[in-house]
C-alpha cells in the first residue's frame, strides 16, 4: 500500500491517495514533537477512507481478549466522526516505522495510545471538512460533521466521507493537529461497542496463531528437560525418526537468558499428531543441572532463613517501627504464603516461522512484538530488521506472552530444518514449562494507636524475583513490590515508583529479600498486585476487626485525602486515595448491608492497579468444609470509561480469574520438576462454580486508564475477609482449596 512508503519517507502526518482514489491518513505524533520532546516523533498508524465510504482503521496492538482491537480504533473513529457501522478494523503487522512500539501490557494501551490516535482521527476529519468547504465554496469553520458526513447547515448541504475522500487526499498536511473534541460531545467513546472479531469467533473462523497455515509448513513439538534449567545431554532419535510422518529431529541449545530461549529437542513432522508420536519415541538423556535440588516444599524454610539471617534490603522507611509496634494498642502480626501460578492460556503456546534468504518471517500470538523481534533475531543470528512479524489474535495472554520464547523456538527450528514450521506446545508443555508467578512469603506487623489510627506498618517481602530470573539490570525488587505501602517522603524531590502507595503512616518500613532460582518466573495478570493486595487487605481487615474501627475511616486516616503519587513516567496520573475510597464505598453500598444467613460472610477489599481503582465485595457461605462464593460485587473507577461493554466483561472475567487463582491456583515443584501437568492437577474455575459478578462503574471525566487487570487484585482478599466473617478463620495461604475447603457452587447465578 502506498501509505507505508509515504510514512517512512515523510516523518509527520502524511496524506496520500489510494489506487481507487481514496484518502489515507498516516500519522506520527506530530505537532506534538515540539511539546512532547521525549517522544519526539514516532510514526504510528493510519486510517483509510475509500470512495465507497468504507473506512479502514488499523489496530496496531495485539488483542488477547482485553479488547484493544476494538477500543483503540474507537479513538480514531470518534475524532473522525465515523459511522462505526462503516468501519472495518484490520490488525497491523509489526512495523517500527509506521506504528512505533507495538505491544499490550501493564494495562497501558488505553492511556498511552490516546493522544496520537485521537489526533489521527481529527486530522482525517479536518481534511474531509476542508475538502467539503472547498467544493461548496463555504468557510470550513461553518461546516460540521455527523457520523459519516460533512454538513453545512446554512445551505443544507451534505456530503458523505466517501464522496470527499479523493479531494481530501489532494490536500496538504495540516501544520498542526486540529483541536480534539470536547469529551462531552463524544458519540462513540463511552458507549458499549461489541468486539470487532466476535462474529468471526462464533463462526469458528481461523484467527489465532495455532490456525496459521503456510504452504509447505511442517509441525513441530519440543521435548524439554523435565527439570527446570536442565538441557539435553544425549539424544537418540532413531525410533522417533521411524514414526510415519516424522521428518527430522533437531536440538535447540537455548540462550543464556532463559526467558529468550530454553534448550530442548524438536521433533518435526507432517502433522501435529505425527510430531507428538515421534516425541514419545525419543530417548533423551538430560543434564538436569542444579535445579534438581529445588522443591517448593522447601521454600517456606528458605524464606524464613533469609528473614532470620538479616541483610534484607530496606526499600523505604520512616519513623521507628519497633518502638511503635511495642506501643501499639491493637496489634496484628501475620505471615502469608504466595504460591507459584501458571498462566494456562487456553490457546497453548505456538508460533509459525519461515527462515530463508536472510529473512525471518513470523506469524503468531505475540503480545509484545516490538520487544520480541530482537529476541527472535538474536536466536537465529540475524539483525532485527530481518525479522517480520504478523500478529494473530491471541487465545489468552495473562502475562505469559509478554515473553516471546515460543516465537524464538519456531524461528530456530525453521532455520535448522530449512522449511516453514509451526511449533506447538502441548498442555503438558505449557503447565510444566511456564514462567510462573513467583512464589513468596510476607511477614507483616501492623498496629493501631489508642485513637484507632494506623500507627505502624512493617512489611517484609521474601520472594523469588522475575526481574532476577530474566537477568534484568533493574533491582530484583522492582517487579515484586507493586502496590505495597510505603511512607511518604519528606523530600519533595523524591519520586515514587508509580506502582507503590505512599502513605501517611508515621512508622512504616518495607523490607525485601530474594534468592535466585532455576524455576522459571514471569509476569502474571496484575503482576505483584495480584498477591500484594491480598496481604495488605487481609491485615487491614484484621485491624478493623480487632481494633473495632470503621474501615473507611481507617483508610482515610493513613491514605489521606489528596492525590499523592507523582508518577515518574507520566506525571499526569496520580494516585488519588479519594477515588479508592469512593469505589469501596460504592461497592459496599451496592452489596447492601442486609444481614446474611448463618455461616455466610461478607468481606471487601480495594486496590489501585496501573492507574485504576477497584473494590470488590464478596459473599461466601461455609458449610462445614464446603466453601461457595455466592456473589461478587465490583466497583471500578478507570477514569473516562472508553468501552463500557468491554469494561464490564474485563471486570467479570478479571474478578473470576482472581477467584479461580485464589480458590485453586498452585504450582508445586518437586526436585526441580513441576508436579502439575494439565487441568486435572491445575484446576481452573468452572462455570458452575462461578458466581454472578455485579459491575458498577464510577462515571468519570478523568484521564482514561486501562481495565484489563484492575478487578483481579481485590478478589482474593475480599473472599478471605468474607471467610473470616463467616468462620472466624483467617486464611493467609493461597489457594483456599489448600486450606482444606471443598469448593462448592453458588446457590444462585443471578440469571
Amino acid at each position: 500500500m502506498t501509505a507505508a512508503r509515504t510514512i517512512s519517507r515523510r516523518r509527520f502526518f502524511a496524506i496520500s491517495g489510494t489506487v481507487a482514489g481514496g484518502l489515507v491518513v498516516a500519522w506520527s505524533i506530530p505537532g506534538c514533537a515540539a511539546t512532547r520532546s521525549r517522544r519526539a516523533f514516532t510514526p504510528s498508524g493510519f486510517v483509510q477512507i475509500d470512495p465507497d465510504g468504507q473506512i479502514t482503521i488499523t489496530a496496531k496492538n495485539p488483542d488477547m481478549g482485553q479488547g484493544v482491537k476494538t477500543s483503540l480504533p474507537m479513538y480514531v473513529a470518534e475524532e473522525l466522526d465515523a459511522d462505526w457501522a462503516s468501519v472495518r478494523v484490520v490488525q497491523a503487522d509489526l512495523n517500527r516505522d509506521r506504528y512505533g512500539g507495538q505491544g499490550s501490557g501493564g494495562s497501558d494501551n488505553t492511556p498511552s495510545e490516546w493522544q496520537r490516535l485521537h489526533e489521527a482521527g481529527a486530522i482525517a476529519r479536518a481534511l474531509l471538512v476542508t475538502a467539503a468547504a472547498g467544493r461548496w465554496g463555504v468557510d470550513a469553520a461553518a461546516c460540521e460533521t455527523e457520523p459519516g458526513f460533512v454538513v453545512h447547515r446554512a445551505s443544507e448541504k451534505r456530503a458523505s466521507f466517501g464522496s470527499l475522500a479523493t479531494d481530501a487526499a489532494q490536500l496538504p498536511v495540516p501544520a498542526k493537529a486540529p483541536p480534539l473534541k470536547d469529551p462531552s460531545t463524544y458519540r462513540l467513546i463511552g458507549t458499549g461497542v461489541r468486539g470487532v472479531d466476535v462474529p468471526a469467533i462464533v463462526r469458528g473462523t481461523p484467527l489465532y496463531g495455532i490456525d496459521v497455515r503456510i504452504p509447505g509448513m511442517l509441525h513441530a513439538v519440543i521435548e524439554r528437560c523435565p527439570v527446570h534449567g536442565g538441557r539435553p545431554a544425549q539424544v537418540d532419535s532413531a525410533r522417533a525418526l521411524a514414526v510415519p510422518g516424522v521428518r527430522q529431529v533437531v536440538t535447540l541449545t537455548g540462550l543464556d537468558n532463559p526467558t529468550h530461549l530454553r534448550p530442548g529437542v524438536a521433533v518435526v513432522a507432517d502433522s501435529t499428531w505425527a510430531a507428538e508420536q515421534g516425541r514419545k519415541a525419543l530417548a533423551v538423556t538430560w543434564d538436569e543441572g542444579a535445579g534438581a535440588a529445588e522443591s517448593s516444599g522447601h521454600l517456606l524454610e528458605q524464606f524464613r532463613a533469609l528473614e532470620a539471617g538479616g541483610g534484607l534490603k530496606t526499600i523505604r522507611t520512616a519513623g521507628h517501627v519497633d518502638s511503635a509496634w511495642r506501643a501499639a494498642a491493637t496489634k496484628v502480626e501475620l505471615t502469608f504464603q504466595q504460591p507459584f501460578l501458571a498462566h494456562a492460556t487456553l490457546e497453548p503456546q505456538n508460533c509459525t516461522a519461515h527462515v530463508r534468504d536472510g529473512h525471518c518471517e513470523i506469524w503468531g500470538p505475540l503480545q509484545m512484538p516490538t520487544s520480541g523481534a530482537p529476541v527472535i533475531a538474536n536466536a537465529v543470528g540475524m539483525p532485527v530488521e530481518a525479522v517480520s512479524i504478523h500478529i494473530t489474535r491471541l487465545g489468552g495472554g495473562f502475562g505469559r506472552r509478554l515473553l516471546s520464547d515460543y516465537a524464538a523456538e519456531a524461528a530456530v527450528v525453521s532455520k535448522l530444518v530449512a522449511a516453514p514450521v509451526q511449533v506447538i506446545w502441548s498442555r503438558e508443555d505449557d503447565i510444566r514449562h511456564d514462567y510462573y508467578r513467583p512464589a513468596g512469603f510476607h511477614h507483616v506487623r501492623a498496629g493501631l494507636d489508642g485513637r484507632g489510627s494506623l500507627s505502624v506498618w512493617h512489611h517484609r517481602l521474601l520472594t523469588l524475583s522475575r526481574n532476577r530470573y530474566r537477568q534484568s539490570t533493574n533491582g530484583p525488587e522492582m517487579t515484586e513490590i507493586y502496590g505495597l505501602l510505603v511512607p511518604q517522603s519528606a523530600d519533595p524531590a523524591d519520586t515514587y515508583d508509580p506502582d507503590l502507595v505512599p502513605t501517611r503512616i508515621r512508622n512504616c518500613r518495607l523490607e525485601y529479600g530474594d534468592f535466585p532460582t532455576t524455576v522459571p518466573t514471569g509476569a502474571w495478570r496484575a503482576p505483584a498486585h495480584n498477591f500484594n493486595a491480598f496481604v495488605i487487605e487481609s491485615v487491614l481487615d484484621e485491624l478493623v476487626h480487632r481494633g473495632k474501627v470503621d474501615p473507611l475511616m481507617l483508610r482515610s486516616g493513613f491514605l489521606g485525602d489528596r492525590p499523592v503519587i507523582p508518577k515518574t513516567d507520566d506525571a499526569s496520573v496520580q494516585y488519588d486515595p479519594r477515588r479508592e475510597q469512593n469505589v469501596l464505598r460504592l461497592a459496599l453500598e451496592k452489596a447492601g448491608r442486609q444481614p446474611l444467613a448463618m455461616h455466610w460472610g461478607r468481606g471487601w477489599a480495594a486496590h489501585y492497579t496501573f492507574g485504576s481503582y477497584a473494590a470488590v465485595v464478596a459473599e461466601v457461605s461455609v458449610d462445614g468444609n464446603r466453601l461457595a462464593v455466592e456473589r461478587l460485587v465490583a466497583a471500578l473507577d478507570v477514569g473516562l470509561p472508553v468501552n463500557p461493554l468491554t469494561l464490564e466483561a474485563q471486570t467479570q472475567g478479571g474478578a473470576l480469574d482472581g477467584l479461580s487463582a485464589a480458590l485453586f491456583g498452585e504450582i508445586t515443584i518437586d526436585r526441580g520438576r513441576t508436579v502439575q501437568s494439565s487441568f486435572d492437577g491445575y484446576r481452573l474455575l468452572r462455570n458452575s462454580e462461578a458466581p454472578d459478578v455485579e459491575v458498577h462503574i464510577t462515571p468519570s471525566r478523568e484521564k482514561p486508564m486501562g481495565y484489563g487487570e484492575i478487578a483481579l487484585p481485590p478478589v482474593a482478599p475480599a473472599v478471605a475477609n468474607a471467610i473470616f466473617r463467616a468462620t472466624g478463620r483467617r486464611i493467609t495461604r493461597l489457594p483456599f482449596a489448600a486450606a482444606g475447603f471443598e469448593i462448592g457452587a453458588p446457590r444462585s447465578y443471578g440469571l
Binding site: G65, G204, P206, Y208, P244, L346, T646, D692
Partner: protein, 157 residues
C-alpha cells in the same frame, strides 16, 4: 495409515491417516477445519467439542476410527448457512474475550438446547461445567444461553 470416510457437516470426507489419530487433528490438520480448538488433548477443557449425531463429544478423545458412521457437526457447520440462535446470542451478549474456547462452548450449548430447549439455570451450568474458559466469560455465556433459549422459544412456541 488407513483410509477413513467421515460425514462432517453433511459432507463426505475421506482421509488417509493413522487409525489412532484423534478426530481433532484430522479436522485441523487434514480437513483444514480450524474452528475446532486444541486446548489440552485430555478431554478436560472442552475446547475441541463437536457433535456426534447431535451429542457433544470431545474430538481430542475420539480416534478417527471411532468417528466413522457418525454424523459429525463442527462449529463451521453449526449454523448451516445462517447463524444458529446461540451464535447470534453470543454476538448480542458480546460473550468472547480471547474467544479461543467459544467454539467448544457453543457446541456444548447447542447440544443442550437441542435436548432441553428450556433449561433451568442449574441445567445450563451443569451442561457447561466441562467447558473451561480461561478468560472466565461464564456470566455472559449463561446469559447468552438463556437469550438463545428464549429466542428459539419465540420462534417455535
Amino acid at each position: 495409515m488407513s483410509s477413513f470416510t467421515l460425514s462432517v457437516n453433511g459432507s463426505t470426507r475421506t482421509v488417509d491417516v493413522a487409525p489412532d489419530t484423534p478426530l481433532l487433528w484430522v479436522l485441523r490438520d487434514r480437513l483444514d477445519m480450524r474452528g475446532t480448538k486444541f486446548g489440552c488433548g485430555r478431554g478436560f477443557c472442552g475446547a475441541c467439542t463437536v457433535h456426534f449425531d447431535g451429542v457433544a463429544t470431545r474430538s481430542c478423545q475420539t480416534p478417527v476410527a471411532g468417528a466413522v458412521g457418525h454424523a459429525i457437526t463442527t462449529i463451521e457447520g453449526l449454523g448451516a448457512g445462517a447463524l444458529h440462535p446461540l451464535q447470534q446470542a453470543w454476538i448480542d451478549e458480546d460473550v468472547p474475550q480471547c474467544g479461543y474456547c467459544q467454539a467448544g462452548q457453543l457446541m456444548t450449548a447447542a447440544a443442550l438446547l437441542a435436548k432441553t430447549p428450556h433449561p433451568t439455570d442449574g441445567e445450563i451450568v451443569a451442561a457447561l461445567a466441562g467447558n473451561l474458559c480461561r478468560c472466565a466469560t461464564y456470566v455472559r455465556i449463561r446469559r447468552a444461553v438463556r437469550r438463545a433459549s428464549n429466542a428459539m422459544a419465540g420462534r417455535t412456541p
